[in-house]
């Protein structure tokens, strides 16, 4: 334990350097491949009607929140515009398609998802196989600080030696570390266009994601239901005049101001 392990120089020349280089190259290739494959997808067109419907929902929420500040006639007009039985905006059938419909009618979406998965997962698997075939079982170096034995699983993947000090790390662990750690370096090279892996995982888990992405559409519930809910909420909203008695309050404010001592210039 007290003696350091002496590592062969060839390990550096034939494992450390080629491993680092091949990971970096793989990430570069992936970056460019994704850019080529997803080139058309990022400029997905937004339908004006969709924007209109989303904004109508937002505006109706505003109306419900602040109805008391405008005269009642104005409120009635707006409620009729949104929620009238036949002609209201929310009584129309939504032009937006729900997520399932979109999947069926829009083959683009399917292929986009395929492309994303292809560019994300396939190289990962290939690279994993490549690395574990050529580079597994080497000890590459030593961490300059002591660690508890529970880190063995993380740092000594591929080398099953209980007697080995935990601070030595192996080539497979180094590979995993680099896989996630090199993103910062890529960001320096490509600025914003770097593929964000964590973002992609999050999207694949269905935990939200960009509104433009195919997964974002999935999180979008049925727009017709949203219309229906908003219409019901509007119907329930009563106009309560929030500026009731504001004149009296204003008179009090002004009189208090008049009584106050004159301001110094």
């Amino acid at each position: 334990m007290t003696h350091d392990i002496v590592l062969d120089r060839d390990v550096r020349d034939w494992v450390l350097v080629p491993l680092t280089a091949s990971i970096f190259l793989m990430m570069l290739i992936r970056q460019y491949a994704t850019q080529v494959l997803m080139g058309g997808a990022s400029a997905a067109k937004v339908e004006l009607k969709e924007v209109r419907e989303k904004q109508a929902l937002a505006r109706s929420q505003l109306l419900r929140a602040a109805a008391g500040f405008i005269p009642e006639s104005g409120f009635r007009q707006r409620r009729a515009y949104f929620a009238a039985k036949e002609t209201g905006v929310f009584s129309q059938k939504s032009e937006q398609k729900s997520a399932q419909e979109q999947m069926i009618t829009n083959p683009d979406m399917m292929s986009n998802m395929m492309k994303q998965n292809l560019s994300g997962i396939v190289p990962q698997i290939a690279m994993g196989a490549f690395v574990s075939y050529f580079f597994s079982g080497f000890i590459l170096g030593k961490i300059p600080f002591p660690l508890s034995p529970s880190f063995r699983l993380m740092l000594q993947r591929g080398v099953d030696l209980p007697a080995l000090d935990v601070t030595y790390f192996t080539s497979l662990s180094y590979y995993i570390l680099l896989l996630f750690g090199l993103r910062g370096l890529l960001t320096l090279i490509f600025r914003d266009a770097t593929i964000d892996e964590t973002q992609m995982y999050r999207q694949q888990m269905g935990l939200g994601g960009g509104p433009g992405g195919p997964m974002g559409a999935m999180a979008n519930p049925d727009p017709n239901k949203a219309f229906e809910a908003e219409r019901a909420a509007l119907d329930l909203t009563e106009h309560s005049w929030k500026l009731e008695g504001i004149e009296v309050a204003a008179v009090d404010t002004l009189r208090a101001r008049l009584r106050a001592p004159p301001r110094l210039k």
Binding site: E47, Q55, A58, I70, G74, I246, E247, V251, T253, L254
Partner: protein
């Protein structure tokens, strides 16, 4: 608002004092401040920005360089420094041939030169590819407006707010266009929308009340009473410092007074008039006070109120 102005003045003053060595840095920080605060200070931006671009161009990073170019070009157009604007816009368009933002700059240049046909064609061409480009849709409105076609501008802006319904500034602009066209009912609807978006904004209350007052008393004085309420709200929110709201209260009460007897049951207009007189006595040059008093008397408001308010001061 006051603090931003102070900040800008500080930065400008600093520019006076730094020597040539620190000047590039000072110029940059001033332009950045103007960008971030979104204030309109076109003359200074044109002169100083041109200097920065001419002498210290190499010091700007790629992103800041093009942001500055856009800013200076816009300011130059605002000051009608067309040759400068043209040279910058050409550079921008060469660098970003596909960009809608560059197209907007080019359109603004064409518009400033009076080539309205070409500008309109340019907008149409780009809108075909990107019908949801808010910048260009707004430019379309501005283009009509700069030619004086209020009707066409209203039409274009109506189409815009029909889609982008939560754009407060657009509603405000549409309201002012309707006022220009003397369509007060429609203008009031627009300003109501502004108020919905910002129920804590004093200006929104005053704008809406102004339009309601201008529209005339309405059936049984409904417009005037609504205007009075909104002016009162502005007075309450501003603590009585908004002079326009105070004047509005006086005017709208006079308007109501023509209709029926007791237009000022709660003494609001009298208090507003007294506040105005007090503020003139405290803050304005002396010769303005009699003028204000005269006007308020003509509206039947001072007489007693003005004296009672002014007398304890003396």
């Amino acid at each position: 608002m006051g603090s931003t102005k102070k900040q800008l003045e500080q930065d400008l003053a600093e520019l006076e004092h730094v020597g040539t060595s620190g000047r590039a840095e000072a110029l940059r920080s001033y332009l950045r401040l103007v960008r971030e605060l979104k204030v309109r200070d076109s003359e200074n931006v044109t002169v100083l920005g041109e200097e920065l671009l001419r002498k210290h161009r190499a010091r700007l990073g790629a992103e800041e360089l093009w942001l500055t170019m856009e800013q200076v070009a816009t300011a130059a157009l605002d000051c009608r420094a067309l040759p400068l604007a043209a040279s910058i816009v050409t550079q921008i368009c060469e660098k970003f041939p596909e960009s809608l933002r560059a197209a907007r700059m080019m359109e603004m240049l064409l518009e400033a030169r009076g080539k309205y046909e070409d500008a309109s064609k340019l907008i149409q061409k780009h809108l075909e590819d990107a019908p949801d480009c808010q910048m260009l849709l707004k430019r379309q409105v501005a283009l009509e407006k700069s030619q004086g076609n209020v009707g066409a501008a209203i039409e274009a802006l109506r189409k815009y707010v029909d889609v982008f319904q939560t754009d407060r500034e657009a509603w405000e602009e549409l309201g002012s266009l309707y006022v220009q066209a003397q369509m007060y009912a429609q203008a009031a609807a627009c300003y109501e929308e502004v108020l919905l978006h910002a129920p804590a904004s004093i200006a929104a209350y005053v704008q809406l009340a102004d339009v309601l007052y201008t529209a005339g008393p309405g059936p049984a004085g409904a417009n005037s009473r609504a205007a009075r309420t909104h002016y009162a709200a502005a007075v309450e929110l501003s603590g009585g410092t908004n002079a326009r709201a105070l004047y509005g209260l006086c005017a709208v009460t006079a308007q109501l007074g023509g209709l029926r007897g007791a237009a000022d049951p709660d003494g609001l207009a009298a208090a507003a008039a007294a506040t105005l007189v007090q503020r003139y006595a405290e803050e304005a040059p002396a010769h303005l006070l009699p003028l204000a008093q005269e006007m308020l008397r003509a509206q039947g408001l001072t007489g007693k109120a003005g004296k009672t308010a002014a007398s304890p001061r003396k």
